[in-house]
């Protein structure tokens, strides 16, 4: 019997941006393997290459070297097939600002081939689960930061993706909202959802992730369970600072 392909796999994955100012290597030869049902954290300081990595894995950024796949499907060669299997919560508020909260979810369902009635039911179900039912007729611009983030998670889950990508999901949120979102993510984890989360909050990685990879300057520096990483240097923060340096970055 053939082995099931991993949820996410990257082999020597790289991205070099070419512009008028010359070449900038954002990600260099990254190797990753994330199993099904795993909650995986990609940890790194600002500018480490986390968002570029997530961009490549979600088909939005074209790799310049190496390969990556989601559920065994090559992200560069078959992007549409990959998009069917992933849900993405990006760092920015990318909600459709022209339609209501509920319509953001209904149209997402219809983009993924759901019939209108089914898309509406799924939208209602998610709005209830994420405590957004009373905001269903609002426009996205009227939502608070936490509500907008919750709606983005709902949107990413509408079509029941096999892998959920979360790029800095709690950046800029107050502590209460952050803890509430963590609870939501833990529920997804308990349901067996495969998740790749990028963050630069060490406590977030510690609270949620089965395994973490620490990257900086586009290079993988360490990859293991939080417990084992801590065993090498005390706290996760110490390990992180030892690997990525203590100097202040602009």
């Amino acid at each position: 019997m053939s082995e099931e392909p991993p949820a996410v796999q990257a082999a020597a994955l790289g991205k070099t941006y070419r512009g008028t100012g010359g070449e900038v290597a954002a990600v260099r030869g990254l190797d990753l393997r994330i199993g099904h049902g795993e909650f995986f954290g990609l940890l790194g300081p600002n500018g480490a290459g986390k968002s570029t990595t997530i961009g490549m894995l979600t088909t939005l950024v074209r790799p310049t070297s190496g390969r990556a796949s989601v559920c065994g499907i090559d992200v560069a060669r078959r992007p549409v097939e990959v998009k069917r299997r992933i849900g993405v919560v990006s760092q920015n508020n990318t909600l459709d600002q022209e339609v209501t909260v509920a319509e953001n979810l209904e149209f997402r369902g219809r983009y993924f081939g759901m019939r209108r009635a089914l898309a509406r039911d799924r939208s209602d179900e998610l709005l209830a689960a994420f405590a957004l039912t009373d905001r269903r007729a609002a426009m996205p611009a009227q939502l608070s930061g936490g509500q907008a983030k919750r709606l983005m998670i709902c949107r990413a889950l509408v079509h029941r993706p096999e892998v959920l990508f979360l790029d800095e999901p709690t950046a800029g949120l107050d502590p209460q909202t952050r803890i509430h979102l963590w609870d939501t993510l833990r529920t997804l984890q308990a349901q067996g959802q495969s998740v790749l989360l990028t963050t630069h909050y060490l406590e977030e990685a510690e609270a949620l992730c089965d395994r973490v990879a620490i990257i900086d300057h586009g290079t993988l520096l360490a990859c293991d369970t939080v417990a084992r990483l801590k065993g090498t240097g005390g706290s996760l923060e110490t390990v992180f600072l030892n690997l990525t340096g203590r100097e202040y970055r602009q």
Binding site: P79, V80, K83, N93, T94, D96, V99, E103, F112
Partner: protein, 262 residues
Amino acid sequence: MTATFLAMLAREMRVLRRTFVATFLRVVLQPLLFVFVFAYVIPKIGGSGLAAGGGSFATVLVPGLVASAVVMQGLLAVIFPLTMELSWQRSIVDRVLAPLPVPLLALEKIVAASVQALVGGLLVFPAVLLVHAKGQAPRVHVDNWPMFAVVLVAGAVLASAAGLFFGTVVDPRQIQVLFALVLLPMTMLGCVYYPWAALGHIRWLQIAVLANPMVYLSEGLRATLTPQLAHMPAAAFLAVLVAGAVVLCALATRTFTRRVLT
């Protein structure tokens, strides 16, 4: 994939339904005021109301103003939302992550804007047809319906594709400059207010305006709506409108894909 494409069109129509009055007031108001002044007020206060190339000015204006409305609505229907979608929040990602190849998303935007352009043209048509002074009624008659449809659809697609092209290559902060430097001269020199044949008196201008795609739509509609007036040969405007629509669709699809995928 078809379901995704249709769902995206449905989303555009939902947005349009919500903004219908404001959107089409913008389209109809300018041509309506134009015919009110030039086909009603001027003849009433002693102006001749006669146009270059013969016939009443109203007759010349009908195809020209419909063409202008189609082009403006096609361009703006893409450019306005796109500048928002490509701004720093990049809400375009909402659609890019749908299971559809990105070039098809570009085509969907062109199709949706073309529908808006056609609706704009069809709303302007009765307005410019009905407003005129006594004795100044435009003489409009369609002999060749298939050619009328081809001209209108090709013109709408060309304008929408041009909108997508400009929307993806021009910095959103420079859009105002685009209006001033491109759209205004395009209308003033687009054979909207005079037939192309009448420019024979200014030969250099008659040749120079051939670079303006609006000329071919104005002349195409002139040939099909007011065939009694001198107009450009059908082969010329059909070739430019159809080939222009195809080339601009291909070009805009590429620039859009390059803009949304890094």
